[in-house]
């Protein structure tokens, strides 16, 4: 109990100190090596390429791409799409988690929703694009029904624009939210609700004073995960919109172009822009989490 008393408040895991660290780091090594090989090194190499010409001389010319209105529009498009699908996905996912909360964790409904979420959260790429073309494309099921009711050519598929990607992305965003947010929801103890009720609080007081403050860090953390998930998505968008509009498509275009030759390293500077957006977001999240921690301690 001493360590708990030393730490700054309830709910914070007691930190292990002293000699234990000496052996403990060995357990982290595999993850560290993995992260270094498959995350850090590729990211550094990709971003570094933005500072060189294809012949290997240092240059800042690759950053000229940010003066291009198309690039600016595409960065905003990517941020907008990611923000909308992250917020909508987080809210919808949280509501589903809330609805599932009273059910037994090993019951049929929870098991089915868990399994389905695991599958749908990973369902992406060209397969997802084609599934949506079959449903919402110009000759898809929805189009056939609407054209059948209101006459030919009434339906124009929204799929082939950046806003049209919102329902497609939500298809994997909501299940991802359910998967990542459910454990946080489960940590809410029924006793807290009973305590609030005993002290004369309403259900609203409970959520406002207890539920939301406790869940806020997890909620925003999950939302950032969703944002990054959308932000870096490529294959689905590439199959649906071939004419650009997102930064991930611009990176593809720069690095593989057959027609505009000699701009491949602009992909590196565009990648840096993505990293910067994520750093800004993570910093904001860090600040928010510190604020939320204070809030929870109040």
């Amino acid at each position: 109990m001493t360590s708990l008393a030393q730490s700054r408040g309830a709910g914070v895991t007691p930190r292990r100190r002293g000699a234990r660290i000496g052996v403990g780091w060995i357990g982290v090594v595999p993850f560290g090596v993995y992260a270094l090989l498959f995350l850090a090194i590729p990211a550094v190499l990709a971003v570094a390429s933005g500072f060189f010409t294809q012949n290997g001389t240092f240059t800042l010319a690759n950053f000229d791409t940010f003066a291009d209105p198309t690039t600016q529009k595409d960065i905003i498009g990517s941020i907008g799409l990611s923000a909308v699908t992250a917020i909508a996905g987080a809210i919808a996912g949280a509501i589903i988690c809330y609805a599932l909360l009273p059910m037994r964790a090993d019951g049929l409904v929870r098991t089915v929703v868990d399994a389905a979420s695991s599958v749908f959260a990973q369902f992406g790429g060209v397969m997802l694009a084609f599934a949506f073309i079959a449903t919402m494309g110009n000759t898809g099921l929805l189009g056939l029904i609407i054209n059948g009711l209101f006459g030919d050519n009434t339906y124009t598929s929204p799929l082939y624009t950046v806003p049209g990607l919102v329902p497609v992305y939500l298809f994997f965003q909501i299940p991802l939210m359910v998967l990542t947010f459910m454990p946080a929801m489960e940590a809410l103890k029924p006793a807290w609700g009973e305590a609030v009720a005993t002290l004369g609080g309403t259900r609203l007081t409970y959520w406002w004073r207890v539920g939301i403050p406790v869940l806020a860090p997890a909620f925003f953390g999950c939302a950032i995960l969703l944002f990054a998930n959308s932000f870096s998505s490529f294959a689905t968008a590439a199959a649906l919109i071939s004419q650009g509009g997102l930064i991930s498509l611009d990176i593809f275009r720069a690095s593989t172009s057959e027609t505009v030759i000699g701009h491949a390293n602009e992909a590196g500077s565009l990648a840096l822009a993505m990293v910067v957006v994520m750093i800004v977001l993570m910093t904001a999240y860090g600040a928010l989490q510190r604020r939320a921690a204070k809030w929870a301690n109040r």
Binding site: F130, A134, T139, T156, L159, S242, Q243, G244, T259, I261
Partner: protein
């Protein structure tokens, strides 16, 4: 995962090399054939360096592998061409990497995988990207070198044209029974949400060619593709431009009922594809100046399977394979010679129609100018 796979492949390749090396010493070579080291084979410039066809086949069989890249099965009959090679040379296993990739991907793979057993052996590559990377290529002249016209090949054999399509309009004749007779037909209201091209013209050569073809049809030229950009702007404003990327599957399902692309792809996605194609798909090359673009064959100078690479080139320039290109609507570079010496498949030629004598293609300056213009104007035109 990939690294592990590569390491595994390297071990396998090393084992295979060791085994075949043993086999090589055990089998007596015929009088003419020569046994070349890897470095020697990578520098072989003709079949004679292997002591004739038997020597080349033996050397390629010893390698046992051939890495090809960016060859979609539905593109210019490559599905059948690859199958044909496997049948003819069952001892050589073809590894077909990244079929839907671009010419730039070929170069990137050759650079990134240099010295590894998975590096591409041969390229089927667009001129603009190739011109920037000539130092990656090994000169080689196929046996039928004289049948390739002089302006279709590098004098040293660094590259040589293989085939060209013509920019064409493919459409679903069930949906559009009146067909497409001129480009401006596509601006009509019946073509709402119907017309797609093969990607972003600032990325894909096939899409740039669609814009160039539209320019030729609208008073522009290979030196000035602005009228083509204007056409697509009008198409977009009319609500007829479809931003999705057409695939064989979207043509079969009817989601992309009009596709402007190379004739060999429109032909290949139609009835010729059997159950995977669209039986009502029609291909039209519009009257007026046609637009073509020869793709080049070339060998990677660091090819891990240099003999197999050279055998593949010999195979591609046999009349049988040249006729396979032709059957898909891709005009092979030896077509003129084949018509003269009678090796062309006349029924195929009659079905596809002879190559027009007056089609144009962008030279590298024109292509550079076109892409500069597109970089500046395209996104705004269709945005």
């Amino acid at each position: 995962m990939k690294t592990r796979y590569l390491a595994g492949a390297a071990v396998l390749a090393a084992a295979a090399l060791a085994l075949t090396a043993c086999a090589g010493t055990a089998t007596p070579a015929s009088n003419n054939t020569k046994t070349l080291t890897l470095a020697q084979a990578q520098k072989a410039t003709s079949i004679a360096d292997f002591g004739g066809m038997d020597g080349l086949v033996a050397a390629a069989n010893k390698e046992g592998h051939l890495n090809v890249i960016t060859l979609p099965p539905s593109w210019a009959n490559y599905g059948q061409i690859i199958q044909g090679f496997q049948k003819k040379y069952p001892g050589i296993k073809i590894n077909s990497e990244n079929p839907d990739g671009s010419s730039a991907d070929e170069v990137a793979a050759a650079k990134a995988q240099k010295g590894q057993s998975t590096a591409p052996d041969v390229f089927d590559i667009g001129t603009a990207v190739m011109d920037q990377n000539l130092d990656l290529l090994a000169p080689y002249k196929v046996g039928s070198w004289k049948d390739i016209p002089d302006n279709f090949k590098d004098a040293d054999g660094t590259w040589y044209y293989d085939y060209t399509g013509l920019m064409s309009v493919g459409y679903d004749s069930k949906k559009f029974p009146n067909g497409v007779k001129k480009l401006d037909d596509l601006l009509g209201s019946e073509f709402k949400n119907a017309v797609a091209i093969k990607g972003d013209p600032t990325q894909a050569n096939e899409a740039l060619s669609a814009v160039t073809m539209a320019a030729l049809q609208s008073g522009g030229s290979v030196d000035n593709i602005q009228p083509g950009i204007d056409f697509f702007q009008k198409l977009k404003q009319a609500g007829n431009f479809l931003g999705t990327l057409p695939k064989q599957a979207t043509v079969a399902s009817g989601e992309t009922p009009v596709v402007i692309q190379w004739s060999f792809n429109n032909v290949g996605w139609g009835p010729a594809a059997g159950s995977a194609g669209n039986p009502n798909w029609k291909t039209v090359v519009l009257p007026g100046t046609g637009l073509g673009s020869y793709y080049n064959q070339a060998i990677n100078k660091d090819a891990p399977n240099p003999a197999a690479a050279r055998l593949w080139e010999e195979y591609l320039y046999t009349p049988a394979v040249q006729n396979l290109y032709l059957a898909a609507g891709a005009y092979p570079s030896q077509l003129a010679a084949m018509k003269k010496n009678g090796t062309v498949d006349k029924s195929v030629l009659a079905k596809v129609g002879d190559a027009p004598s007056d089609f144009v293609q962008l030279d590298s300056d024109q292509a550079a100018k076109a892409s500069t213009l597109l970089t500046a104007k395209w996104a705004a035109a269709i945005g």
